[in-house]
Amino acid sequence: MLELNKVRLVHNQGTSTEVVALHDLSLKVDTGQFVTVVGANGAGKSSMIQVISGAARPTSGTVRIGGADVTLRPDFGRARQVARVFDDPRAGTAPELSIEENLALAMSRGRRRRLRFAVTRSRRSVMREHLKQLGLGLEERLSAPVALLSAGQRQSLTMIMAGLTQPDVLLLDEHLAALDPGTAQRVLALTVDLSAELSCTSVMITHNMEQAISVGDRLLVMGRGRVIADISGAEKASLTVPGLVSRITEAGAEASDRMMLSPRSG
């Protein structure tokens, strides 16, 4: 369970460049729920992700994960509860490390790291099991440097890394944005499977309206640091892309060029 209570995030507070990124945002997402988030640039989507992951500390308000107040915990202190997949495929993996070393890095996520070998025989067999799900043959290339992988392969590997330790919350920050349509479709299918398998709370930001409608069981539309529409169930199922875009514009947010062009990345 993920709970934001009146979270306010202000950048450059008290100066002439003050920006209110999140406006007393309150949100409750149940365990196992998959939420997609859309909104114009500057709507507060990424700010919300940052507040949940701990990369940004709210100016006021509280963040609770699984009932525990984590508001004051920095991002590295929440890694056990929160797994993140970034928009940049290069950010989620270390290119100079091998596939097995990247996976080993994630296997110790949120635990105290010790002076013992990171890659062991038993860990390797666990890695192979997980990599087989991808069907990319990566389980045969454990010692290959990640730098040799394509963007789609790297993002798939990042997904596997996110699922190695059972997180309470899975954050997907436009994680398909840098992928070509075919690869994005495959990684999206992997995302849905992984989320179901982990039965954790998933929050996915996307600029692709079709994805936002078809994936997950709840859709949030954000604008100017607030949730301006919260759609689920039959209402979500009956949404159309033009309908969603007009809801965003009606609610006072600007539909950016990028959103109008969204089917391109789908």
């Binding site: 950010a91 996520r109 790291r113 002076l115 070998f117 789609g152």
Partner: protein, 317 residues
Amino acid sequence: MSSVMTDTFVTGLPLVPLVLGIYLVMRIREDFDLTVDGSFAIGGAVGGTALVHGVPVPFAMALAIAAGVGAGLVTTVVHLGLGVPIMLAGLVTSLGLYSINLRTMGTPSVSLTSEHTLFSGLQALDPVARDWVSIAILFLFAVAALGAVGLFLRTEIGLALRVSGHNTRLIRSQGVSERRLIAINLLLANGLSSLSGVLVVQNQGFADVNMGVGVLIAGLGALLLGELITRPGGSRILRGLLAVLIGAVLYRLVLTMALNAGLSPTDLNLVTALTLIGAFALNRVVARAGRTLAQRRSGQRSASSWDTTHTKGAVSA
């Protein structure tokens, strides 16, 4: 010719731990720590003074390493506690250490020729045999340091350290606080530097308060020379460690040849500076050539991986 070789090994191998520490700071984490100048000297000063006072060799060396680790700790605390950049924090620590080293030794220079050292048991041997046994002893220390660091970099902590210098977002999202890693790295690098210091004083038979001046630059030059030979792409550990070993020896080869060519020891700082500049220049040229080659090769490779991704994708879709 053989004297050039033995001179090179005898003076180059003690520098391996130093260059290894610089490799950890500059290549593994991309920091720049000037403390190593001071910790090299404090290793010599503390170790040398302890030996003069009759402390057994292993304890004297342990004291020297502890002093270097302490120097690293000071820099760590100044950096993490006060937010001073590592470079400035190291400079401040090194400056302060100069006075401490002088206090420790009492005089600017201490002779160890009549003391019990690592090498004093070899005096009965003829000069050539003595050199080769010294080289064997120094080689053991170098390999032990390289091996220990190589194993460390494969541990959970070592893995995190290797990532932390290049990708802050990733390492934080994996639940690692960089502060602890910065501390570990600085303590390790300065402990290694002071190990080099105490090896050098026993080897050359004296400790000098100025012996640390410029060792960071020298070590960096050595590292760059070594990388010219091994071209470590990314952080393939074995190649990195090999670059450290080869670089330390190559660097001393340059200095030994300069001395043999008739230059005086006071000219060596200039030779070191020129070596560094030359290594930078060569690294640029080789890197550019390497890139062109890699592009040609990866052009084929990425084309083939594109194919596999897409055929596999089609199968799964």
